[in-house]
Symmetry: C2
Subunit: 558 residues, 2 copies
């Protein structure tokens, strides 16, 4: 494999971009960029996987398991190897020595080859992501394909940079006055910690999975991929590609393995406390994330958990732009993003806009109308909303209407291609930020909990200052992946920034165009801050990679 | 203050050196380098502190406390402010905003000014370290002065580099085909996490304290210094200097405060779980270190705990050099260094040397003779050994003679200047690595526990392969700050390296001159690996600084 010629320029560009944080991506967003036959080939490849056993030829397989059902309706019917972990874990460690000796550059370039082959199969991955996450095809294509690959490449770049901060060797000579200097020859080797466990999520199996997977692999660790049982295929395909590339590059394919679980097995809990497991990446519920942090004490644990995202609406000089921007943010993938705004904090006396003063009720009505307009056409609604990923989301959506006055009811959308898909428009519920209860329902408890799915709360507040206090409390106590704000006041802007700086939240200000608070771009935007309860790590920064390996020094008298 | 002109070149040199890892230090090791009057001035300054109240003018003082007694005998008689933490902690947070806004460079340069003023008072600090740690004057001078200052500066350099990996602002422009590009203006601010708690140790209050203190301060966090109750003065002086510099530079002095405790108060346990405390640096027992890791869940916890350091003796081409090198390592500061070798693993069939084959007994006898020779002169012995830091060390030394056959008994040394000082030469005890018990004593339990102080075990092993297995088990289960080895075999050398790479231990090979396994040089050597049970962090690397702050991004439509 000509790894250097093929991939070193791309690695260099990634290294450059994480320093400038300008726009860059080597992975095209447009489906047409992948060649004329790619769409049909990708679909055919996906269809060919259905109803088969997904062979991986990894050691320690003690049976087959799999029960994925597409949120669009069809059963995937794919079975994956179930691991005998007492056989698999030792086998995964066997290749660590050669992988360590390969050094940071070769490891990075092998990772880039893996990403490159995944990229070439983006259409196939798009169908796999669509039919496990419920994302609409175009989103599954972009977020599950190029954007996920970007995040993987970004992690490789951070890992490479971090490992090469220390030279591989140094000559050290300490003067001793008139005597000969003390002289040592020193070598420094980056060594992985041990097996890295990736616990995948249902909604973004590749996007949320690739940073940890590639950060760990690039820093010298074998990676065991434990997918969400509803979203195995995208990560199983990833494991297969990684194993192929590792083999071709002369390394042990068992450096990347799959751990699919039997229904109800809870294998993550078993794996997480195994002594061989030294690193864990997890995206999912706060409950299990907290459990991992408390119990997997032998491992470095990186978690992305629940959070409550807020948008502070203070004032705007582009009312229309604000409405359409918010409508899109609330609608994309039925609000099933960890970055989707949940609480819209709006002063009860209304706001100043370029279209005149707008009362709280008017603002809420106008946002509702904007969402309604955006999703008025069923074809467009299907393309934006995708399907509800699982029955829990549907249950939360149904329950939300009892929490307060419904400003925008959810609407059922028919999907002509997949009649079993559960497609719903978002609900917007009005809550009074000054009153704890609404007709017996605990309104405060509602907006201070994550209601994952197409549910937003338009919370009336006494003032923007009141909104900032609620924002601070929400971020501090519940965490947030994103904060948005609209204001024309420099003073208010500064106050919002201060809250975000003090409580460690990522802020998007006055977005009225084609960038949305729930989207971040690899190489430029951080995903999460790692400094509030929603996540203990950010994607991607030095802290995300620097403790996945250790530097071992050997000193010899020169 | 002309911070940039004064300190930027030094910061740049530190940044350069942590990349090359060549020799460098801006802090002179020789006492004469500090000016003719410095020795007398330093002693006078130290004497003037005795029997006084150590005023710090920090908020929330609810009384005075202090009961330091020099390991050399004299009571220091110094009282320190005792904190009302409900007043002190909020006061410490007040200055965080301005400290954050100052940015990474100003914070680094203020830290360098603090270090520079400490450096100018190295003689005074040397007496303070000597009379709290029991180190001999020259060691207290070097390890407590320039070497500690080097480690502080190193941490500042790492902190600066880590914080400046991301630009303060970026323009992002994403092409949209024929449409206008999406454009965002982004700012990135490094924000400290909250109050950083330094829990100091008895033996190296400055050397082990400065890395965490300066890493946290340089990354934007207030630092609360909780010294060991027997070693308050060196850190109280440090806090005073820091407060002076902060004030003069226009910042809140309460960014650095002292938390001296009343006898038996255990204030560290209270402070460690306060929600305001987000970072903890700790050096001390494994018991409390483990407690911190398990309980201070709201904080990033960096611990250096107990470990068992091993030297593998396989063969040598410089037998005399090996003996004298080992003798010095075992003797320095009465073995009261976390890096002092404890277990010398020697094949029972003996070793090959340039002086012919040497049996196990001969090797042990020769090491014992070498130690005896080194410490034969009482003046030199006092200068090397210092005093036992506390009665626990003495008790362990006394107990060690019952664990096996004594190859070198400990000898009591009189200190003419300080007749109450407890000065003892090291004991070397022979143990059989193949037999668990020796005359009823659990020999294996002995050499597999840290016996902190002037106690070494000459453990006979069946072979070098056997030694490596014991080394691996020791590092994996008990941790190690250092590993040493002597071998002339390339194959054996490689095998030892592999164990250290696999178990994450820092290795010194064939040291026979003036560099010792227990000494590391800032900017070049890592102290600990952070990858075995002796410490969860290394001094200093990216991982030691990268999670002490977070990057908060603000995006605005351009």
């Amino acid at each position: 494999m000509q790894l250097t010629e093929t991939h070193r320029p791309r690695l260099d560009q990634a290294l450059e971009t994480i320093r400038t944080r300008a726009y860059w991506s080597p992975h095209p967003e447009h489906p047409k960029a992948y060649g004329e036959s790619a769409p049909a080939d990708g679909l055919a490849a996906f269809e060919a996987l259905r109803g088969t056993r997904f062979e991986l030829d990894q050691p320690g397989t003690d049976g087959w398991t799999g029960a994925e059902v597409s949120p669009y309706g069809p059963e995937l019917g794919i079975e994956y190897p179930h691991p005998d972990i007492d056989v698999l874990l030792p086998a995964m460690r066997a290749g660590m020595g050669a992988w360590r000796e390969a050094g940071p550059e070769t490891r990075a370039l092998v990772c880039l080859e893996i990403l490159s082959r995944i990229s070439a199969r983006t259409h196939e991955f798009a169908h796999a992501v669509m039919h496990t996450s419920g994302q609409a095809f175009m989103m599954a294509f972009q977020a599950g394909g190029p954007h996920a690959q970007d995040r993987g490449l970004e992690a490789v770049a951070y890992a490479y940079e971090e490992q090469t901060r220390t030279p591989v060797a140094a000559d050290w000579s300490k003067p001793q006055g008139k005597r000969d200097p003390l002289e040592l020859r020193k070598t420094f080797t980056t060594a992985g910690r041990g097996i890295s466990l990736l616990i995948g999520c249902n909604t973004f199996p590749t996007w949320n999975g690739y940073p940890g997977l590639f950060a760990s692999l690039a820093t010298g660790n074998p990676v065991l991929v434990k997918p969400h049982p509803r979203a195995v295929l995208p990560l199983a395909l990833t494991v297969r590609v990684a194993r192929e590339v590792l083999t071709e590059a002369g390394f042990d394919p068992n450096l990347v393995c799959l751990a699919a679980e039997r229904p109800g097995e809870g294998i993550a809990k078993t794996l997480a406390v195994r002594p061989e497991v030294k690193i864990i990446d997890y995206t999912g519920s706060t409950g299990f994330g907290d459990w991992l942090e408390a119990n997997a004490r032998q491992a470095q644990v990186y978690t992305e958990k629940a959070g409550v995202n807020t948008v502070v609406v203070d004032s705007t000089d582009n009312y229309k732009g604000m409405l359409s921007n918010l409508a899109f943010s609330l609608s994309l993938y039925s609000g099933q993003m960890c970055t989707t705004p949940q609480n819209l904090l709006i002063p009860r006396d209304g706001i100043t806009t370029d279209a005149g003063h707008k009362s709280y009720d008017e603002v809420v009505t106008d946002i509702a109308a904007s969402v309604g307009g955006l999703l008025g056409d069923d074809a467009r609604a299907n393309a934006l909303l995708g399907a509800l990923v699982n029955p829990d989301v549907k249950a939360r959506l149904d329950g939300a209407t009892g929490l307060g006055e419904v400003a925008l009811p959810s609407r059922k959308i028919a999907n002509p291609e997949f009649p079993d898909a559960v497609v719903r428009t978002p609900v917007i519920v009005k809550l009074d930020g000054a009153r704890k209860f609404w007709e017996g329902a605990d309104a405060e408890a509602a907006y201070l909990s994550e209601c994952f799915g197409p549910v937003s709360f338009a919370v009336s507040v006494d003032s923007t200052a009141d909104a900032l206090e609620l924002l601070r409390r929400t971020v501090r106590d519940k965490g947030a992946m994103t904060v948005g704000a609209y204001t024309t006041s420099a003073e208010t802007e500064r106050a919002i920034e201060d809250v975000c700086l003090e409580e460690s939240a990522q802020l998007s200000l006055n977005l009225t165009g084609g960038v949305y608070v729930n989207q971040t771009a690899a190489f430029s935007d951080f995903h999460g801050s790692g400094g509030n309860p929603a996540a203990n790590a950010a994607l991607c920064d030095g802290a995300f990679v620097s403790n996945r390996f250790r530097v071992v020094e050997v000193r010899r008298q020169a």
